[in-house]
């Protein structure tokens, strides 16, 4: 039940169509781009796992500041090293696709922003998040004073139960207010 050598079987294709938000053309395109990442010997093996460095050569992910987190979240590897199989890749594209629901996008966005994987966004996660957004160079980083003010503003707005962290439902509550989220949380090959 993995990818065959060079073509997807018809029933496998329809199964993927049922389990993801991708259309048939998108799945075929994803398959093409994924097989381009494989070396010659890997192409014959079913269910190959591509290491994270090769995934990050894709132009859509190459300069994304969250690229490592994205690979980590969608990876089903036991070593948690961010390597992806083709099915993981399809899951990734499905969550980032045009027709994915707001709910699934916000769920995965939450997991991507949760840098320490503890199920909530605390001050450390928020600080790392803001640094990713503004860039790591010195002239685009916020000063410590601005960062402190910003994080306290964020927690004041979104932490409803005042426990100092933003959990999944509070996060989804903020996201539901923003009409831009669905259109910006999109990666199309």
């Amino acid at each position: 039940m993995g990818t065959t050598a060079s073509q997807l079987g018809k029933d496998l294709l329809s199964e993927y169509q049922e389990l993801t938000f991708l259309t048939k053309q998108e799945i075929l395109l994803a398959h093409k781009r994924f097989t381009e990442l494989l070396t010659k010997d890997e192409k014959d093996l079913p269910n190959t796992r591509v290491p994270v460095e090769r995934i990050l050569t894709l132009p859509e992910l190459k300069s994304n500041p969250f690229r490592k987190r994205i690979c980590h979240v969608f990876s089903t590897s036991e070593y948690k090293d961010g390597s992806l199989t083709f099915e993981d890749f399809l899951d990734l594209l499905s969550a980032f696709s045009d027709s994915a629901t707001m709910e699934i996008k916000s769920h995965y966005a939450f997991r991507i922003f949760d840098f320490d994987d503890d199920g909530t966004l605390d001050c450390g996660d928020l600080e790392k998040l803001v640094n990713c957004l503004t860039g790591e160079t010195d002239d685009t980083r916020l000063t410590t004073e601005e960062m402190r003010q910003l994080i306290s503003n964020i927690l004041e707005e979104s932490d409803i139960d005042k426990d100092g962290t933003v959990n999944l439902s509070e996060f989804q509550h903020v996201i539901s207010r923003s009409p831009d989220f669905v259109s910006s949380f999109k990666i199309v090959l």
Partner: protein, 700 residues
Amino acid sequence: MYSEPQRPGSRQVDDYIEENGYPSDQQSLRLRRVSSRVSNQNYPQHDRSSTPAEENDSGSSGPPRDLKAIPLPMALKRAVRQVQQMQVPVVSSRQSWRRKKNKSLQKLNENARGLLHFFTLWRKTLQQIGGNFGGGVQSYFLFLRFLVVLNFVSFLLIAGFVLIPSIVVRSVGTSVVNSTGADECTVYDPNPQGLVVFYNYFLDLLLGTGFMEYSYMFYGYYNNTMVEDSDFSYNIPLAYLFTAVFYFFFCLICIIARMGTAARVAVATGGSSVGNYSIIVFTGWDYGCQGGRATKLKQKNVHYQLQVDLEEEIIKKKAAALTLCQKIVLYSLRVFMFFVSFGLIVAAFYGIFMATNFSQEMSGEEGILGLLLEYLPSIAITIGNFVVPLLCDQFTLIERYTPSTTVIVTLLRAVFLRLVGLGVLLFTLWHQITCEGDTESEGCKLCQYNYEVYPCWETRVGQEMYKLTLFDLLINIGVLVLVEFPRRMVVDNWSNKLAQWVGRQEFVVSANVLGLVYGQTIVWTGALFCPLLPLINTIKFVLLFYIKKITLFSNCRPALKTFRSTTSTFFFLVVLLFGWGLATVVMVYSLAQIRPSMGCGPFRFFPNMWSIVPTSFYSLSKITQDFLFFIGSQSFSIPLFALSCVGMCYFVALASVYGKTVALLRAQLKLEGRDKQFLVKQIENLSRHQILKHTAGAHE
């Protein structure tokens, strides 16, 4: 802890979730279900996650959960699917029929979407623009694409109902109705006499005169023929009128439909706003950004936005701390600046008025001077639209509003200037056509319009609109070639301090959008008099798309201050509606008040254009007449009005209920959080007591 029987597949699923540190689907949902049973109906988007809990423990049949929306890896989704397939749901035949129907409908939907995907215009280009320049600039191009499609469909409408029947009728050659009224009014001979110099053709193309004037382009060419065959009748004047009116309604519906998506979000969330910062940080990143340069730009952008917001907060705090004396000074400055800018705008209007008058007086000149004089109104409007916003921008420095208010104030001023400027032009034309509204005066007594200067006034108005459209396009091309390319070459090759300070062109979205709205308003105003104008506008907008794309990619650097894309789309459509309103006023007035020309056009023997409707009305059958009378009468319209009021009240009430529910649930969540903290403290105290007891016991 939970005693319901769990199926093996779902246990596997729950294990996976728990080992990844997330509260089990069921556990968190159990908590939520208890406290928010009320909210289930009001939050359709959370419905999905609550159904599996209900499904699993009750074991009853519900609709099979949409597998795509489960946030799990593929292998586990397969497991869930197997579990679902193993469950033999006890469903009635009706439910299973409904489920099959839903599935086939979904398949149809997917196929349709796939097909639409293939036909979408400029999809790849828009993706590129969005990735490199951000959502704000992309929304401008999306708006432009919307207008292109709207104009093209309108053209098809007009072609189908007016143009093609006119062509058919003309070739068949039926007769014209007899004439009444003075003979001088019916004199209209636009065809040029004698030999025509070659460059005149080019001038005619630019001015809409000569060979273009007496063509399908303008109102004057259409005849008032009414074909009446044995089994087929077609009333061209009636078709012309109804097509024009329907065209306006059609555009209104399209605009409102497009506004609907953005407005829906505001209604559903009860109108309350969660703060800026969370939204910028959680939803600010555009994952479509490609390439190192675009990413760095977006990062700079986000950084700038956050800084501006933090700064605005500090400014607001400072403004609240101003003394009374300083406040008075600031407000009086603002009022003064308002009057100055208003005075500037009025001066621009006066300039347009004078230019139009002068141009109409001097019409008839030949050659290049004549061309310039004909285009004088367009030139005046363009200069006004360029100079006044530039000056007003300097005023905003003195007014010292917060950055967000400044943007709105600038935009409103520019919109006012553009649309009312156009209104002034139309008013001036009306002035001259109807001799300032006085039908008893010298020039207008005979035909109720100024027949000497305007033997066919509708064509004249159509020509003015045509000239405006063309001039707009020429200006855009001219600015691209003569201003933007040289500016880029100077900035890139001349490392002077001045050149660097001026810098590369920035793509200012608001100014460009206003240009589009202005162009579309001209087309709406002129569509009644120049039926082919939507087609010309379609071509113009397509050319404009490519021109703007070229200038964007070659000459521009991305703006540091950006718009938010959905609110800006909503704003663009609101401004477009203002333009539509202006055009509607013009159309209604022309239909109802001004006497149509007697020398040309489909309405030549009617006192006003609308009067053809009652005339044709009486030729319908008795039953249809009675039915239409009934619909127009009070016994139908008053109940209809009352019903729509009730409907509107219902929706307003619904929106306010949503808002109140949201507030209530937030308060509830706060309380629960506090309860949780209280209980945690209690547990800590108790365990401490236990430990102390133990150690005390151990000592003894």
